[in-house]
Amino acid sequence: MNEIPTMSAEQLGMSKYTRRQFLKFSGAATAATAASVLSINDVAEAAITRPLPMGTPILVVVTLYGGNDGLNTVIPYKDPAYYAARPDLTYKEETLLPLTDGLALNPAMTGIKSLWDEKKVAIVRGVGYPEPDRSHFSSMAIWQTGSPKTHLSTGWLGRWLDTQKIDPMTSISLGSVLPPLLVGAKNSGSALPLGGLVIPSGVFAKACDQLSQPSRADNKLMAAAALSMRNLFSISGNITPVLSQAAPMSDDLPTVGGGNAGGDSNLSQQLNVVGKLIAAGAPTKVWSVSLGGFDTHANEANAQAALLGTVSTSITKFLSQMKASGRSKDITVLVYSEFGRRVKGNGSEGTDHGTAGPVFLIGDRVNGGFFGDQPSLTKLIDGDLPVTTDFRDIYSTVLEDVLLTPAEKVLGKWSGRVKAIKKV
């Protein structure tokens, strides 16, 4: 495995990373969002006036917040050490969805299993980075910035955005807060808030419109409050026909002990809207969606199965929805989480923060199958899985083979690759 990129610290604006910086950093991303919140109408209009050329590759990044337990996602069910380490947490063998190599998918992931059978799923095993950090904040910052050793104030896809011409439509995150992932030095992604749109009408709407106008008497925050309402009303009444069947506000999930690391709960709704906007021709190359709740310290089996079922069903539905649009061959979905979990179960039928986990790449352009070595369950490091694949191998591959951009511009010199994407 390679070590750190060879760009100098000055070049990358680095300083030693602390958790506080990430908290502040997230705050900064939020503030930046205020300037780049899009309405669905903005995107729909851009889709009509300047659609993405057919054949342009599209990346959809799915972030699982909280630390998804990789060992109960891609399950080494033939390994006695697996059952020995976590007797409270294992699934019955007959419920598992067997792949190859003694591995099986979580019983809830039937949709992804079908895609696997169609050779559309690449599973990269044992993914992580050197000296794993077990803090949600630190580890998510490391994955999103793509920089394990030093703190960067930009996300890896934000730096990719910096290589593109400035356009708020190039990259869009669903939800009201922009993740650090899409923050670049000069160009950032946009946030597209979702929700059941209940827009007032009639005389009240007119008064709201009046209320949202700028006033010279506004201070900065009052002006921001007025602007947020104005943006809302710009979509009033005429949401474009492509979106007329927007999904209802969905409560995908029971409230589970998801812990403290962010992420949204309505993945299927997010992907539904992404699908409709892609089908409409939105000029967007990178989409970011998320699901929270993976911090399963307790009663993991049911909670995680519910979450993985949502991931599997939402992605499968999304890709099948894309078939009719003629764009399904352009789409690659990347699924990752900030860390895997401890091999040994804890006392409360859950697991604590761990290290390596699987990363999924899904789509027509993917070479289906396993990549990277399955981490050994018997050669643990401090009770945790050894990392066998650096996430920068995957990022480099995605940058080059999906986004058609030299990886060095984003990650510095990095030689590892996974051959999981068909060359165009």
């Binding site: 705050g27 904040f137 009046q210 209320l211 106008q213 002990g257």
Partner: protein
């Protein structure tokens, strides 16, 4: 802008969860100085307070799909609902609004989420500790928090042992609770973690015990002092650092005055906190001139907005038509009491001002107004209603823009009220 109206508006909106009908006019009449005294010296007995819940210990979680599992989940949900509604009622009904506002502040300071703690009982106990020390001595408070079951569970105190020290709690105590970032070294964190080893807490009760077998009894070196320290002794040592009152002043400033402008280096609140007496610090802050400085505006967070609306409309949260709906609005606005997003607490200002939240606020406002008794507003002549609402809601002044918008609805009281509570002047404490 009228300086007196601005100051009293800020006192209500930032330190007292907003006024009840009539209170703003009353405060204007007695003036800011006397009003501050009344905020700082509330009645000794809180006659408005709702009865505190009493929760049974639900015990360990039964095996999934076992016979007891469904009942257990139901009990957990019922307690959780009761806990949330009780606290919201307390915020709205209390006669000690500054104390309750500080409970809300401490909830964001020692930010602990029921999402990980799971059980409402330890969250209730933590909330009671916040109230006991809301305006008390920060040294005693911090020692009580060390033995707080919810906090110990939240930050993995159970896993911090002689054999395998876990730094989670120690780090946050230094970084987020007592001193502030960069006021200690990584070595200090490790050493503090050792001093805090050995605590164990059954999740369901939140009663912390000390297990001597798990405890590291060796000498530790923390911020230059080497000694064998018990947990409380280590906390005492941290709270006694000169950085502690500065840090507290910074945090209070950030949440009550401005999240964008820094605390002035020589602000008198820092000295006022020298005895670690929180009431002293707030007394000085209220009497400093920051509350008339027009630079320092701040956005009401969704819960602050909801409580202020409830007080103005005389609504009791537990009597609203649907808890599920209420919870849903908090969820959509991204602020559910007892569920802060992370140990750093709630976000501030612009984070609450996306178009998504504007939309949910309008629907939420409508839902609340529909449940309110509007007869007082209806009894006022239509052309006086806009001015009346400025006092009802403790808005120092409507902008001309908003005056025009509100005046257009002055004959439709419900609509008028909904619009007023969604206005920039109300969402932001100017």
């Amino acid at each position: 802008m009228d300086a007196k109206r601005l100051e009293i508006s800020r006192l209500f909106n930032r330190f007292a969860f907003g006024p009840r009908p009539g209170e703003f006019a009353e405060a204007l009449k007695i003036g800011p100085a006397d009003f501050k005294k009344s905020i700082l010296n509330p009645p000794a007995i809180d006659i408005g307070a709702p009865k505190e819940p009493v929760f049974a210990d639900l015990g360990p979680r039964p095996a999934p799909k076992s016979a007891d599992s469904a009942q257990f989940s139901q009990d957990l949900r019922a307690q959780s609902k009761e806990l949330t509604l009780w606290w919201l009622d307390q915020m709205v009904l209390t006669q000690k609004p500054l104390q309750e506002r500080m409970v809300w502040f401490w909830h964001g300071h020692w930010a602990t989420s029921i999402g990980k703690v799971n059980y409402p009982l330890p969250m209730l106990k933590q909330n009671q500790t916040f109230r006991k020390f809301a305006l008390g001595n920060f040294n005693d408070f911090s020692k009580a928090m060390l033995l707080d079951g919810a906090l110990q569970v939240w930050l993995d105190g159970n896993e911090n042992t002689l054999k395998a020290p876990n730094e989670n709690l120690a780090r946050e105590i230094m970084e987020l609770f007592v001193l502030g970032v960069n006021r200690y070294t990584e070595k200090d964190v490790k050493e503090l973690a050792r001093a805090l080893t050995g605590y164990q807490v059954p999740r369901s009760t939140g009663v912390v015990i000390l297990n001597p077998k798990r405890r590291d009894t060796g000498a530790v070196t923390i911020l230059g002092k080497t000694a064998v320290m018990s947990g409380p002794e280590a906390i005492n040592h941290l709270v006694n650092q000169a950085d502690c009152p500065r840090f507290l002043a910074e945090r209070i400033w950030y949440r009550f005055i401005s999240s964008t402008e820094s605390l002035p280096k020589d602000h008198p609140m820092i000295n006022a906190l020298a005895g670690r007496d929180i009431q002293q610090g707030l007394t000085v802050l209220l009497n400093a001139n920051d509350l008339t400085n027009s630079n320092y505006s701040i956005v009401k967070s969704p819960v602050e907005w909801f409580v202020a609306v409830s007080k103005a409309l005389e609504l009791t949260p537990s009597k609203l038509s649907s808890f599920a709906k209420l919870y849903g609005y908090f969820d959509k606005l991204a602020q559910i009491p007892f569920s802060p997003p992370n140990v750093g607490g709630w976000p501030t200002d612009e984070a609450w001002l996306s178009s998504a939240s504007a939309q949910f606020r309008i629907v939420f406002a409508d839902w609340l107004v529909k449940q309110a008794d509007l007869s007082a507003l209806e009894a006022i002549a239509p052309d006086k209603r806009v001015a009346y609402l400025a006092d009802l809601l403790a808005v120092p002044e409507w902008t001309p823009r908003t005056t025009v918008a509100l005046s257009a609805l002055q004959k439709i009281p419900a609509r008028l009220l909904s619009l007023a509570i969604c206005s920039p002047e109300y969402v932001v404490s100017q």
